[in-house]
């Protein structure tokens, strides 16, 4: 209808104002999103990546009408999110990660029936639609159990079924794969891909780079409330082009050693990630400099595990973009 884009965001901003304390009220302001502009085409699968607190959820909530933007404009299917709220709501589905957002003491079936009514799914279509969705998310046969007895992944799948009840044109998925086991996550990705291939526009946030790489047509990396990079996964990967990545598994690396790595010639970025007892050191360097021997020299005396030198992945590109923004 009219607009060529499913989602248009223009200079979106959102500031949270909060008052804390009753006797001596103190005002705090958080600029969660500071001027975000992008468009998503119809049927496109668009990813929003970024570190915790980057403003992804806030952006989604402005687009799905739960939050009014502090400034800027946004349209979904050509309808203004602030003024034509109901028109927008009719056309969108919203699924967020985690186990909240459901009526725990009701069965999955009752939850779906209630939301089918809320979304005005015609009475004679409800039964079929609900059965179809229960099947799609693999909850068929357990729909009469109360949700409080569901595992996290089952709740997440129920969430997804709920978001699809009214066959929305645009689907907002905020970390839908949180707490979902690998097999179910793979099914979830297939479901999302199927939806997109049949014309549903999807806006997805996730912290799993492989998921974004596999699914998304285009990705925006957002940090600190601003878009830092936008492009296809291949284009973003090229951001890390001309780099090489050395990965070292180590036990008990002191801060000082990490700082020393950062100072090595040719090194662009370093990151440390704790994985149980071991730490995973990631060192980005210019491709033409071989830093591996230098790195190992700096780490002399520290117990090391696997050492690996490889081409950059989307995750490396993401790390590069985000740390450049910081």
């Amino acid at each position: 209808m009219g607009s060529a884009y499913a989602i248009e965001a223009e200079e979106l901003r959102r500031t949270y104002r909060a008052r804390t304390g009753w006797l001596k009220p103190r005002r705090t302001e958080v600029e969660a999103v500071r001027g975000v502009t992008f468009t998503v085409g119809r049927g496109e699968l668009f990813g929003l990546l970024g570190p915790n607190g980057a403003g992804k959820t806030t952006t989604i909530k402005m687009l799905n009408t739960l939050l009014i933007p502090t400034s800027g404009r946004a349209r979904v299917c050509g309808h203004d999110v602030e003024r034509e709220t109901r028109e927008v709501r009719r056309r969108i589905g919203y699924v967020f990660g985690g186990d909240r957002g459901l009526y725990d003491r009701l069965s999955a079936l009752d939850n779906l029936r209630y939301f089918a009514e809320l979304y005005a799914v015609p009475a004679r279509e409800q039964k079929g639609r609900i059965a179809e969705l229960l099947d799609l998310v693999g909850l068929a046969g357990r729909e009469r159990e109360r949700v409080e007895g569901y595992s996290r992944g089952m709740r997440q799948r129920l969430h997804i079924a709920r978001g699809l009840l009214h066959s929305p044109d645009v689907l907002f998925l905020d970390e839908p794969s949180i707490g979902v086991d690998p097999v179910a996550a793979r099914e979830l990705r297939r479901t999302v891909a199927d939806l997109a291939s049949t014309g549903t526009t999807v806006l997805l946030t996730t912290h799993y780079m492989a998921e974004a790489d596999e699914l998304c047509d285009r990705i925006a990396v957002i940090a600190d409330g601003c878009i830092q990079a936008l492009g296809t996964p291949a284009e973003l990967r090229r951001r890390a082009e001309g780099r090489r990545v050395v990965e070292v598994e180590a036990y008990g690396v002191p801060e000082s050693a990490v700082d020393a790595l950062r100072g090595l010639p040719g090194v662009r970025e370093t990151a440390v990630e704790a994985r149980g007892a071991l730490q995973l050191l990631t060192v980005h360097s210019d491709a033409h400099v071989d830093v591996q021997s230098d790195v190992l020299r700096e780490l002399a005396g520290i117990r090391l595990g696997r050492v690996d030198s490889r081409e950059p992945t989307l995750e490396d590109a993401y790390v590069a973009i985000v740390s450049a923004a910081a």
Binding site: L66, R89, G101, Y114
Partner: protein, 256 residues
């Protein structure tokens, strides 16, 4: 048609959700016994059988009111916690259609308190359940529940906006009991409460029930009760639409 279905299905499912809460079940088991006892000991001295039944009915209505008050506040707050408040407000519906089933459901679960108070009164204290106008009593009880649900809607409008809704709810329980004469006749209250009592639908609802219990013209009070409640519904509807917008601006639909 679809609106009516939404209201019905919504109300039924919310009754289900509320009545399965362990907290509600515990309250439902204890409170009616306490209320029946209270009614009996407060009025036994007067020695009149009819006064006893009247007191039990009054105590029961207090139960309905408590349920609506804590229900509208609690349900909104609870749903904020559960994360369902955002989900239901996100539906392409007028906010009033989304919230009304919740407040009516609280009224319905409260009716249980009214019935249970009467039953316990009968079983434990032998209060004779001879209503002056039994049929009118049933109609009045139904109207009362719906009316309180609509009044609850107006309260709910405040609760959607305020994150500390429960604090407000706590302060409203006893004053409304007293002022609307659920337990003691309004005539014994100080004069300044009269205008407040006159605009509260609870006053007229309690009065209609009392009249149905011990004799009196039930319908005028019931009519006024219904009228005020419909006004509450209209006001609550507008307030909710306004408040929903405010809540989206202030980000109070979610916890954080």
């Amino acid at each position: 048609m679809s609106t009516l279905r939404l209201l019905t299905v919504g109300t039924l499912l919310h009754v289900k959700q509320i009545s399965r809460s362990p907290f509600e079940i515990a309250i439902a088991l204890v409170v009616p016994v306490v209320q029946a006892t209270l009614a009996v000991y407060l009025f036994r001295s007067s020695g009149e059988q009819h006064r006893l039944l009247e007191a039990a009915v009054g105590a029961g209505v207090m139960g309905v009111w408590s349920s609506v008050l804590f229900g509208s506040g609690g349900a909104i707050q609870g749903q904020r916690w559960q994360g369902t408040l955002e989900m239901i407000m996100l539906a392409p519906r007028r906010p009033v259609l989304v919230v009304l089933p919740i407040t009516i459901a609280t009224g319905l679960t409260g009716t249980y308190a009214l019935l249970a108070t009467l039953v316990w009164g009968r079983l434990l204290y032998g209060i004779r359940l001879d209503f002056a106008h039994p049929a009118a009593f049933v109609v009045a009880a139904v109207v009362c529940v719906v009316a309180l649900g609509m009044f609850g809607l107006l309260l709910a409008a405040t609760f959607v906006l305020m994150r500390n809704a429960n604090a407000l709810a706590n302060t409203l329980e006893y004053p409304v009991w007293l002022v609307s004469g659920m337990l003691v006749p309004i005539t014994v209250l100080p004069a300044w409460t009269t205008p407040i009592a006159a605009v509260l639908p609870t006053t007229w609802g309690a009065r209609a029930l009392r009249e149905a219990t011990s004799g009196g013209p039930v319908w005028p009070s019931l009519g006024i009760c219904l009228g005020i409640s419909l006004l509450c519904l209209v006001l609550g509807g507008f307030a909710l639409t306004h408040v929903e917008r405010r809540a989206r601006a202030a980000a109070t639909l979610a916890l954080a």
